[in-house]
């Protein structure tokens, strides 16, 4: 049970390989290039393939092809590169194919910067591609969780035949923390009778396509997928509830900012302010039912994000405007300190009295 000191990016790569992922397609971009570097070293030693494509667009289409053939496959990039992949992601959704995509976010828009950010929340949870589509979005907040959620992502992707996006950030990708790989739990790869991997004349051919020219056929296809999203929402919401049950002020925060917010909650509690942290681990499906319930007991909500206020709108929808929801964040690559968050908590707390 020995721990290793490892970067978040490398932890994702190692966990992917241990999950049975044998195909990685990518294109370098800061701050996630260590993944390709790690894959390039390790994949050949396990009989896998790491390929540096000519572009992000090529890489996601290689993922599309590999996923259609029924293997565990992943790609990774950072914000601008993820935008380039969006067309391919939509096709993969339209074909109901499983794969894992990692976004180690950096500041935007445009080329933006290379420091940590959570400004792709909207893109990840609302529309990483055209069409009536959703992704399954996981948000790790430690390097150990980067590894575990990668392992989980492959299981979820296979179970529901949908792409799973891991939404990390530059800090989580670049930092080293101890990881216990022996503690990881893996989901065995299921049989994939739908895969287009050669029928040898022994079974009916499988067809994988996202093209449905007849409106009624496309509608049926989209409705069927919407049913799947309903099941996913019912069964797969994940979150961490840290001292929310008696909290007057509930902070909602994911990823790296959730850690900072947790420290602020502890400091607030030490001052006699009843604060709590609700950390969504799945951003899509969003833990709206949990927040809706907390609106019965909490007096106010505060969303802390590394952007100009994106998840805050999901929090507002979840609490149905029954309680005030405010926002605090930094953007462009800077992180707030726990003192900054504490100041916001104190401000809200003063307003409550």
């Amino acid at each position: 049970m020995s721990k290793v000191l490892i970067k978040g990016n490398e932890a994702v790569a190692e966990a992917a390989i241990r999950s049975g992922c044998r195909y990685y397609f990518g294109y370098p971009i800061t701050p996630q290039t260590e993944i390709a570097e790690y894959m390039a070293k390790k994949m050949p030693t396990v009989g896998g393939l790491c390929l540096q494509a000519e572009s992000e667009v090529a890489a996601i289409n290689m993922v599309y092809g590999a996923a259609a053939s029924g293997v565990r496959v992943m790609t990774s990039s950072s914000s601008p590169g993820i935008s380039l992949k969006s067309e391919g992601v939509s096709y993969i959704v339209g074909c109901d194919l499983p794969c894992v995509i990692l976004n180690v976010q950096r500041g935007g828009p445009g080329l933006g910067g290379i420091q940590p950010s959570q400004s792709d929340y909207y893109q990840a949870t609302k529309a990483l591609g055209h069409g009536d589509m959703q992704l399954f979005v996981l948000a790790p907040s430690s390097v150990q969780e980067m590894a575990q959620l990668t392992a989980d992502a492959f299981g979820i992707a296979d179970k529901y035949r949908m792409p799973v996006l891991i939404l990390a950030d530059g800090a989580l990708g670049q930092m080293m923390e101890p990881v216990d790989f022996d503690a990881l739990k893996f989901t065995p790869e299921p049989k994939k009778p739908w895969a287009t991997n050669g029928h040898g004349g022994k079974r009916k051919k499988n067809i994988i396509t996202s093209l449905f020219l007849k409106p009624e056929e496309l509608e049926a296809n989209v409705l069927e997928r919407a049913e799947k999203y309903k099941i996913v929402t019912e069964n797969e919401i994940r979150y961490e509830n840290y001292m929310c049950d008696d909290a007057d002020i509930v902070i909602v925060s994911f990823g790296i900012t959730a850690r900072i917010s947790k420290a602020a909650v502890n400091e607030a509690r030490a001052r006699g302010i009843k604060a709590g942290l609700l950390r969504p681990i799945t951003l899509s499906p969003f833990p709206a039912p949990v927040l809706r319930k907390l609106a019965d007991t909490a007096s106010a909500f505060l969303s802390v994000e590394l952007n100009m206020g994106q998840m805050v709108n999901d929090v507002k929808l979840a609490v149905e405007c029954r309680k005030p929801v405010s926002f605090f964040g930094r953007t462009g690559g800077s992180l707030p300190s726990s003192d900054d968050v504490l100041e916001q908590i104190i401000k809200i707390s003063g307003g409550l009295k």
């Binding site: 000191l5 800061t30 530059g170 670049q174 930092m175 850690r259 900072i260 420290a263 992180l335």
Partner: protein, 178 residues
């Protein structure tokens, strides 16, 4: 107890390595640790730094605004980070390359000609290990024998000469000023 350490200097001075040794030593003692490098459009000979946090409680952010310990290996790093050291904090500086002294009396300053010592030992690349010895001597981060073991054990047994050179550099730093 939480220690927030910034190590900074030129690329090639073994700064990231030094930070990793501290973080690994903390991990093996079951502490919570984070190690975060500066990353950017870096170039050879450019500046380089990393932030190491050692703590017995959860670490919220791996980013350090105000370090309680700064280990500076060049004048640029000294000028950038020295003013940010918390009151009561410690400055470690390579006096071979840094010819300034802080005009602050609220921090403790430790100067060692680490580059000169490493050169005299015939192992100029081990300037970081000389500094590690001096750092361990003047902080309560880790026990001397423990971290010396972490350092030498991380080198393969087949490279006995390298182990020996690292041990010697560490001891030179640890014994400096005695």
């Amino acid at each position: 107890m939480t220690n927030k350490i910034i190590l900074a200097g030129f690329g090639g001075q073994g700064i990231l390595f030094l930070g990793k040794k501290l973080a690994t030593a903390g991990m093996d003692k079951d502490m919570n640790v984070t190690w975060l490098p500066s990353y950017g459009p870096e170039q050879r000979g450019g500046t380089c730094n990393c932030s190491v946090i050692l703590s017995d409680t959860d670490i919220s952010s791996p980013i350090i605004g105000s370090p309680d310990t700064l280990v500076a290996f060049n004048i640029q790093s000294y000028e950038k980070f020295m003013p940010r050291i918390v009151t009561g904090g410690k400055l470690f500086a390579d006096s071979t390359l840094i010819d300034k002294h802080p005009e602050r009396n609220d921090i403790d300053s430790y100067f060692i000609p680490a580059t000169a010592i490493a050169n005299d030992l015939g192992t100029p690349k081990l300037v970081n290990v000389v500094m590690l010895g001096y750092l361990i001597k003047n902080t309560d981060f880790f026990d001397r024998d423990y971290i010396r073991g972490v350092l030498t054990d991380s080198l393969p047994a087949s490279k006995a000469a390298l182990r020996e050179a690292n041990g010697r550099a560490f001891d030179a730093g640890y014994g400096y000023g005695e």
